[in-house]
Symmetry: C2
Subunit: 232 residues, 2 copies
Amino acid sequence: MAYNNRLLRALSSADQEILRPHFKWFELERGTVLVSPDEPIKRVWFLESGLSSIIAMSGNDQGIEVGLSGRDGLVGMPLILDADRTPHRIFMQVAGAGYSIDGDDFRQIMDEQADIRKMLLRYVQAYSTQTTYTALSNAVHTVEERLARWLLMSHDRQDDDEIPLTHDFLALMLGVRRPSVTIALHSLEGLGFIKATRGLIVVRKRELLEEFAGAGYGVPEAEYERLIGPLR
Amino acid sequence: MAYNNRLLRALSSADQEILRPHFKWFELERGTVLVSPDEPIKRVWFLESGLSSIIAMSGNDQGIEVGLSGRDGLVGMPLILDADRTPHRIFMQVAGAGYSIDGDDFRQIMDEQADIRKMLLRYVQAYSTQTTYTALSNAVHTVEERLARWLLMSHDRQDDDEIPLTHDFLALMLGVRRPSVTIALHSLEGLGFIKATRGLIVVRKRELLEEFAGAGYGVPEAEYERLIGPLR
DNA sequence: GACGTTTGGTAAGGTATCGAACCAAACAGA
DNA sequence: TCTGTTTGGTTCGATACCTTACCAAACGTC
């Protein structure tokens, strides 16, 4: 049975068999917190569906999204990097399911299985590129462009064209006001790139959306495909 | 002879001895390009002094700084992560010197020396946190706050209180106009935190600068000290 | 000491986004 | 069918920052 998770798929079948006995199936609702700031991480999750958000906290329990992870990767990256915690919060943004493995078992595999380790390290490199382009985008792009980028990244990690999110939520992700999201969504909808209904955004013209996002989108995705394999 | 590089210092003396025979001393002028986008990385540099900037490119050879590295870390992180290149540009922002090691030798040590590998992986985690807070800062903080943060990060990695940079350069780093930097510097100088002369910024009241920078500064630095050791 | 070059200072008008607030539509439960 | 709650739409004035441009001071060089 093939995995939907692209990172697991990229492993040799021998390496997949090393991990398989450790895996437990899980299903997670939207909003479930996978990793809390500065608390030990006990498990590592490989999502088969759904989306998780990595949030950097800013003072008064406000935060902003600095990373996105779904079937392309894993949740619990610090355990690859010989750390046991992170100052970030990670939670399910779109409900999903997948396989998880105990943290200590995972650490042992990282120590002993060089091939698996290297594949996951390449994912760290790809993910890290994603974060740097978020930093770039936050500094120099308009809300519209950042929204376009975000929708594309989200779309890359979903099996269909529907992204079930409210304006309020998107505002939190992008670190802007809710009305700014409303206006930006109208703009993208006016251009025919997407269709937005209550709590749901449907991607209609992916190619045009990519063009619109410009320099914000593409580089991290190319890096992923170079290092791991096909993303979509 | 003790290293000034904090990452090398954090290694056991046995591990330091493993690296030492591979090291070549180097000195680099301001502006020297260490890593070019999408070109194979041939060496890894451990700075003893000076500062390097990691730049994410945005279309028409414009870029913005997404990371800073000096005596706290190394240049050539992709080689830790089983990658041989990166889409970023890395260059010397403040002239400096240090030790470098051949890329293939470095890769071999990564494979064979688990203790060294783990230390460097923890640096990846710390550096990664720095980048996420750059993303946060770019999204929600004012130019003044971002400038304060940048000066602090730069100061952390220098032996004295002098940061030799022009407004023009800082504007490039922060992704803002040059006049915005001038105004922000005046503001910080008016508050007595710094003293700016032609091409040089002197940090005067570090504690107040930290207070001013607020949520933008502190988390990545704490993460570094937790994972590696003292930064300053 | 005269020159060009680099660096810093400043201004006028424009735009993106913010903060706060209010209202309307859609939906869920009784 | 009524009611409360969630979500989306819109407005007002404020503000941080931009674009463009020009000028002044400091410095290096001949």
